[in-house]
Symmetry: C2
Subunit: 230 residues, 2 copies
Amino acid sequence: MEPLPRETIVDVLERRLQEDILDGTHPAGSLLPPEQRLAEGYGVTRTTVKHAFGRLTQAGLLETRHGVGTRVRDYLRLGGADLLPMLVRHNPEWLADIFEVRAGVGTLIAERAAAKATPPQRARLRTLLDAVAAATEPDAVQLADAEVHRALARATGNRVYVLLTNTLFAAYLPLRVRLVAPFHDPAESAARLEPLVTAVAAGDPATARTAAQAYLGETQRIMLEALEPS
Amino acid sequence: MEPLPRETIVDVLERRLQEDILDGTHPAGSLLPPEQRLAEGYGVTRTTVKHAFGRLTQAGLLETRHGVGTRVRDYLRLGGADLLPMLVRHNPEWLADIFEVRAGVGTLIAERAAAKATPPQRARLRTLLDAVAAATEPDAVQLADAEVHRALARATGNRVYVLLTNTLFAAYLPLRVRLVAPFHDPAESAARLEPLVTAVAAGDPATARTAAQAYLGETQRIMLEALEPS
DNA sequence: TTGAATGAGTGGCTCATCCACTGCCTGAGT
DNA sequence: ACTCAGGCAGTGGATGAGCCACTCATTCAA
């Protein structure tokens, strides 16, 4: 059992403000109403508003100056990759851009992992590949597939690739119910992934590179096609 | 004049807690002392502690559960790329990993920009290259160089590359005083960058790719070598 | 014309207090 | 001996009133 999250008032307020910012109600660069007024407007305490502001500031959406006010940052120009989950949730159009980057970065990771993985890491990849084939639910297949890619990132020996992979997954896995198209058949999924894992396990960067391109391009195509109808 | 930042109590407390987490005083997975006790210990109000907690939670370092307590997340395993600025500041060892990713991603961006840039974007790159040559201070040269790379990311037409570039810059530009080595001579810096800009402006992905690899590999080498003595 | 003082409006921070949730422990009933 | 309902202690969630500090535009005297 997971300790599943509770929704506090601050959470709700934060999400509300976030949406008002992303959909342009509070455009980038504009000054938000004073905390006191927002608090009255939303029927909460100024303290609560401040808590929500603090989080949004940390997230890179707001900028507060003592004695002046709170301004909406130009997040698209100045923000970092951590904005992606939020942006995707608000506008799935971002998925196409994300998948292109996933394909590019995934190829780099595969190439590097083939060159640098340790023997236990190569063995671990095989195990995780078997887990993909053994999964039953499409959702479980997709998650098992994601675990393979996390392991690939770790196998590069470069922890930045691990964090980058986490960021990309955090951006599109929340929408995975709409992206299960490539994962309905466990055997097929595992077969599609197999050449990549084999090349990495064999320590062959060039083959890993082409295998990654094939795999990532194919799954990307299937996911985006399946997304169209929505 | 920049509106430069003020350091509030919450900022200080946040930084302090962050350091205590990153250096292992509060190891990943451990339960923090109750808010009341921390507040007494640091001589602030529980409200202030909560504000700091809120930001660190948003940053992915903490996890709070009502009625139980606040726990340190396993950020290295679960965290995203937004942790990088913090991690680098605390342990510059990360720079090597970051530069490797910068080289890989930078190459992808150059290739893609060469294929997709619009005419005004190609012209803009030339302008920014001239700005590098025209800069006088090494620091200004480095920042002008960074602007070229931001423009390249924008020229891909993929906004995720822009955010990714922002994340990487946010990670290592704060330490740029220790990384100015490649940028002491404006003319030389511009000359090193010129083949890349030319290839992108000409719309030649293959040449852009090799030019990017040469540029990124060279600057990376110089920066890391200059870093050694510290 | 200058520049010091003022005051309105804003965010920073504290305090005291109450509520809600969780986990454990106790003790009655089986 | 075992079970489980109830209570209880400890924790975070949220409030609201209050005071302080900062910024900026206005005012007014030199």
